[in-house]
């Protein structure tokens, strides 16, 4: 043997003889896994919203969304929860990184052996609640897969805004819209939250795919006033957005606005198919969102539609109530003109009950739709309310929107905390006044959109929260000042939100030129003949309808603010769309 060294060195391994192996622990202990070990799943059932993003991203198709006991579908929750097939799972953890709520995680449990194939199906969090203590791999805050930040919307500067009624929000540019649309995970929770159940994931998907025309078609499928919604919708969809749980919800409203703004004439893109006339006539009282929506889709189905509107323009409260810096006239006209092209006949300046009787409309048509809205303001019930320059926000906004000159003087106080109050305040600012909002509760209790409140503050509107108006003081029949007292918040005995309670003696007086009341409105049914009023079921000022928007009188349908409690445009549109089904069903037996 030439290589003696080579023959001997291997024997050095003998030094390990008798030593214990270093890969096994003595006495035996179960392996402790690393802190971010990717073992079996765990799901916080309460935090999970059943959006199904985990199931979508799973490349093994190991995740099914199933109905489980004890979780009911609701607002922003599909009622479904993931079930993992551990026979298919590869523990890549993409489901965890993609989970919009962070409810899904992986645990340190890594061993499961059973002859029963069903035991490999795991509903995390339900089948293994004890694993909550053993969570290891969780969503990362610093290396996110989803984008939680919204593409910011460009707006006019606060100081610039008050100089005119120019539109405040400038809208997304193409690149911005694409980027924002890309954030969506297509869960569809928004669809259930939208009163009109618009095809939100579909049109957002189309925008992300750079197909704006397709987006517009999806939008017009059940909303004929999308540009209006794109600007002023109360967007209940965004409140349930899956991305909104850990980040900012997708700007669904702005995306809709973007899609509609791309096309000056929707008809060119939509090229709607209008059915042959079916010989049935429908009269619509009130040209607001409800009436217009019903009219548009009825016209598409071949109905002969006439809309009667008291104001000089169509649009109802969206024309009369919403200030032009939020919803400009040309945008409204564009949508109305398109409806006219489809064949909806519109009659402006016709007040039903005065210029034409309701009975005539009813006799001339096979069905009638009532969408008159809430245009009569509640009064404050204060001394001095009847003074000159003590006005109502709804009347004030309507006069400004119609184009009348309204002199509010130098100092204005608006009473109320809803969107109407904020609108009145911001309009007054644009008319050159110093504006104070007096609201009985705290700012966070205001029913107005937070964006509106912020916008008002940016424009220099002063908000006095917990201020209760006590008396409007006049001089020579005109408003001179307003007396208000400060309130403290006390818990509500009935479990509602805290109530304001006047603090004795803490009273202030504010010099003002105009007081604007904005504490709510109601409907004016005076145009209805007595026999109809007797027959029509009305509860708390609202017409009672069935789910197809049919009233207690079979040929009379109703929708909008005078029916639903949400009192927003999208609910009115939804009513109109539903009423089309009801009217078709009633007249054509479809």
């Amino acid at each position: 043997m030439k290589n003696i060294k080579g023959a001997l060195v291997p024997f050095s391994a003998l030094k390990y003889l008798g030593k214990k192996p270093h890969t096994v622990r003595y006495p035996f202990e179960k392996k402790k896994t690393a802190e971010r070990y990717r073992g079996f799943h765990f799901n916080e059932i309460e935090v999970c919203i059943g959006c199904g993003t985990c199931s979508t991203i799973c490349q093994n198709e190991a995740i099914d969304m199933i109905k489980i006991e004890g979780v009911e579908p609701g607002r922003g929750d599909s009622g479904l929860r993931p079930r993992i097939d551990n026979g298919r799972c590869c523990w890549c953890g993409l489901c965890v990184d993609m989970c919009p709520t962070g409810s899904l995680s992986l645990t340190d449990q890594y061993l499961h052996t059973s002859p029963d194939p069903d035991s490999y199906l795991l509903i995390p969090g339900v089948d293994n609640p004890e694993m909550k203590e053993n969570i290891s791999f969780t969503k990362s805050d610093t290396e996110p897969l989803l984008q939680f930040d919204r593409v910011p919307m460009r707006e006019l500067d606060g100081a610039e805004r008050v100089k005119s009624f120019a539109e405040v929000v400038l809208g997304y540019m193409q690149e911005e819209a694409r980027a924002e649309a890309t954030r969506c995970v297509d869960c569809g929770l928004c669809v259930t939250a939208c009163p009109d159940h618009m095809h939100i994931p579909e049109y957002i998907g189309a925008i992300a795919e750079a197909d704006d025309a397709k987006a517009l078609k999806y939008i017009y499928d059940n909303n004929p006033l999308p540009e209006m919604c794109g600007k002023v919708c109360t967007r209940q969809c965004e409140t349930v957005c899956a991305i909104g749980h850990l980040g900012e919800p997708i700007a669904i409203r702005w995306l809709k606005r973007y899609a509609t703004e791309q096309f000056p004439d929707p008809a060119a893109i939509l090229n709607p198919k209008i059915a042959e006339p079916n010989g049935k006539k429908v009269g619509i009282v009130g040209g607001g969102p409800a009436g217009l929506s019903a009219g548009y889709y009825l016209a598409l189905r071949g109905f002969d539609v006439n809309i009667y509107e008291a104001l000089p323009r169509m649009g109802g409260m969206t024309f009369a109530g919403i200030p032009k810096y939020r919803f400009p006239l040309d945008s409204l006209d564009k949508q109305i003109d398109y409806m006219k092209k489809v064949g909806v006949k519109m009659h402006n300046n016709v007040r039903v009950g005065k210029d034409i009787t309701f009975d005539k409309i009813r006799n001339d048509n096979d069905a009638v739709f009532i969408g008159i809205g809430f245009h009569v303001p509640y009064t404050l019930g204060l001394t001095g309310e009847d003074l000159e320059n003590s006005i109502q926000a709804i009347d004030f906004l309507r006069r400004v929107n119609i184009g009348e000159t309204v002199d509010v003087g130098k100092k204005v106080v608006v009473i109320g905390g809803g969107n109407v109050a904020i609108d009145a305040a911001r309009v007054s600012r644009r008319l050159g006044a110093e504006v104070t909002i007096l609201y009985r509760r705290r700012v966070e209790d205001m029913p107005a959109d937070w964006e509106e409140i912020e916008g008002a503050e940016d424009e220099g509107v002063h908000i006095v929260p917990q201020g209760i108006p006590l008396e409007i003081i006049g001089e020579n029949g005109k408003v001179k000042s307003i007396k208000y007292g400060m309130a403290e918040m006390v818990p509500d005995d009935k479990g509602g939100r805290p109530r304001p309670k006047l603090i004795e003696g803490d009273e202030h007086i504010l010099e003002v030129d105009t007081v604007i009341g904005a504490i709510g409105q109601e409907a004016d049914y005076s145009f209805l003949p007595k026999e109809i009023m007797d027959e029509l079921k009305i509860e708390r000022g609202r017409v009672v309808v069935n789910e197809l928007k049919q009233t207690s009188i079979p040929d009379i349908f109703a929708g909008g603010d005078n029916v639903n409690r949400t009192m927003d445009a999208i609910s009115a549109i939804a009513d109109g769309v539903r009423a089309v089904e009801g009217i078709s069903h009633y007249l054509l037996d479809e």
Binding site: M1, N3, K5, G6, A7, V9, P10, S12, A13, P21, H22, T23, T33, A34, E35, R36, Y37, R38, T53, T56, I57, Q59, N60, C90, W91, C92, G93, L94, D97, M98, L106, S136, F137, S140, T142, E143, P144, L145, L146, Q147, A179, A181, T182, R183, C184, V185, D186, G205, A208
Partner: protein
Amino acid sequence: MSAILQEKETTLYLGPQHPGITGNMMIELKVTGDTIRKATTHVGYLHRGFEKLMEERLWMQCFPIVCRICVPEPDPNEENLARAIEELEGREVPERAKYIRVMMLELSRMATYLLWMGGQSGSAGLYTMPQWTVGDRDYIIDLFEELTGGRVYHMYIWPGGVRRDLPEGFEGRVRKVLDYLEQRLTDYDRLLFENAIFLRRAQGVGILDKDMAMEWGVVGPPLRGCGIAHDVRKDEPYEVYDQLDWEVITHEGSDVYSRAMVRRKEFEQSISIVRQVLDKMPSGPVHNPGPNPLKWRVPAGEAYVKTESARGEFGYYVVSDGSLKPRRVHVRGPAYVHGVSLLERMLVGANIADTSFIMNSLGTCPPEIER
């Protein structure tokens, strides 16, 4: 042995389940006596159609697939896919992530070489060595587990950087493992690389001459074992390899022994590279996020990227048509050349007992042949 036995041709089937085969594949041997006259490889036992699967997956969903293309060494696959996508998108990778990637790739090389040491010595009948190296490999696997959450399939290097930052105190634990492995090298040398039995079995066996290696497209340690200094890390540096101090290792001899010595030295070199990475690693973010994976479109185009894996140059050709899914992902791995074409050629005239020995020296990975 009689003349009749010498001439009678016998067929032997090695695999698909055989400890000497580095995965599930079969070699059909026609032998006379104990000399191989013809070798035919049969693959397909592991075929899962990864390349085709990816055409039906979102870009992000490909990321848990590619690691399966080579079980013992998944990281170069992740690296290739990530880098190809980054090239198509023009996405920048944070500096820290680049360092972490190099650390992962080198640790993965070391883990693979440890497994190879076990296989190479095991196929020569030296059974203590696999016990040691597989056990020592577990220390690296433990590091992977701590860093990535997975022991074997890491799913860690992804487009835009890496998935998570280093845990608290991780660098110290890496250094500890490196120190341990460095000290173990002496043991490995004594037991295997200086072992007279190994030298007798390895020297002059499995000759692959320079010209043939070049002609057949051989890469990695088998090529460097022919004295040719070819290493992607040096030739076309990626990540931060050009900022680290290291040289391409070659060895003259063209036999199993020279290939073994290349790996042995590269193992030592990897320890040094990881230490440099730990010294130089800057702080900062580790991931440059991209779009929402569900709506992620990679710009249309094609990219060919390559990484020096433990088996050699490892390439990915990725084509995007601008849609949500890859149009084509083609994996160009060394295993097909080494484990099918070349092996069939090299086994002719070899001794039956050297079949696994030669196969191991080439670094074959059957799942990669059948990606």
